[in-house]
Subunit: 277 residues, 2 copies
Amino acid sequence: MKIRRSGRLVDMTHFLLQHPHHLVPLTFFSERYQSAKSSISEDLSIIKEQFEQQGIGTIVTVSGAAGGVKFISKMGQQEAESVETELKKLLAVPERILPGGYLYMTDILGNPKYVNQIGRLFASIFSDHEIDVVMTIATKGIPLAYAVASHLNVPVVVVRSDNRVTEGSTVSINYVSGSSKRIQTMTLARRSLNAGANVLIVDDFMKAGGTINGMINLLEEFQSRLAGIGVLVESEETEERLVEKYVSVLKLSHVNEREKQIQIVSGNYLECEQKFL
Amino acid sequence: MKIRRSGRLVDMTHFLLQHPHHLVPLTFFSERYQSAKSSISEDLSIIKEQFEQQGIGTIVTVSGAAGGVKFISKMGQQEAESVETELKKLLAVPERILPGGYLYMTDILGNPKYVNQIGRLFASIFSDHEIDVVMTIATKGIPLAYAVASHLNVPVVVVRSDNRVTEGSTVSINYVSGSSKRIQTMTLARRSLNAGANVLIVDDFMKAGGTINGMINLLEEFQSRLAGIGVLVESEETEERLVEKYVSVLKLSHVNEREKQIQIVSGNYLECEQKFL
């Protein structure tokens, strides 16, 4: 069925948003709408212009016989700053302080709106990196990992601290939690990660970085490669950090459990973005 | 800045898709694009027609002073059937059989594409129900719960089988796992669920239903109400099922671990859809 431009724009916008980082041949659209490739190209330039203006992302054209167009989800600087500001305000509430210098974030991580925004933030900054899979550890990091992965069009693997039967054969490693200094175990299903995969590690909270360091060690067991690290909140620790390069959205710079004081400042996200782009 | 129709259609489509089940006043759009409400109404009817034709969803108009438009994510019958067929094919592989009659689904649940499709399936069927929150139990059900919740614009609460410090004060109950007959514990943070909330329970796999039954009992502790149950795969059990009303996408009707045989048939999703709509 032939579809007019207005209809095409609506459907193509939906299709591209649903398929980030997918290479879509122009013939796909011209067959879908029974329209000439020249019309499709015009549609795409309208969509591209609007996506860039509104800070939704961009459309990249890959030329050649195996070419096509690809939607890359990118959050504009302005929206990134307003997301950061909103999260900062939400988190900087003394009632959120939990024993051990942790932060109650269950409500924020339970809200798909925030989770999706944070996912778009990380997908933006890592959009030019070669990433084959997003890795996280159960339980809190899972929604963030899926949000990032869905914008990057890659699968998620979830490392677990237990060993459930439904996983099949597994690989386990021991690691030292940086803050509590306890020896813990993390497990990943053998068939869930391929050798040579480029892995983006995503988590909600990082203190000294022992858990993330454990995941990096786990990557070696699978002969996979670390492609990047993204954490929602890093906690400023006095002791040495176990992880060097990472992107954080927010930083918990000062917690006083006794006096119920809390300070949340910007993480390194915005400066990383400037450095990377 | 005044934006032409073609640009408006792209941006409105994006905005509506990002905000399902949100009531958006027409003035929001007319101010955003500096366009007359009559033009906005025309745009919306183009989008509505296209969304309905392509099985994306619909746009509902709420009239009156506090009125506006609302995008409801609904998957068309044709796409629902093709999603079911694809999942059936992916799952009906003897290598997926795990000890105890479980099914290896980690790869499918790790793929945001499938997770999002399953989320849209459940969001479609429960779109007319009053739902305030989606509940699941860690770990496997989490991505499905978020996918459903993001299309319904409600938060997610995650019940856990451990008791982690970052949760704050918690409520725990004991329950009997239907298949293993063991007594287990599930825990939910006190501040994560309000009294009177309408709760949709989502999980990846259901055998006798002991875990879901446990969640229903947990709802009573919070004085919340069960609004519905959605499971990706139900396992056909010889013994009595502990849960009565639920929606399943697929049914594991026959597993023979010894002979490596497996049969996956349709769940009750499609018949429920016809009943409900």
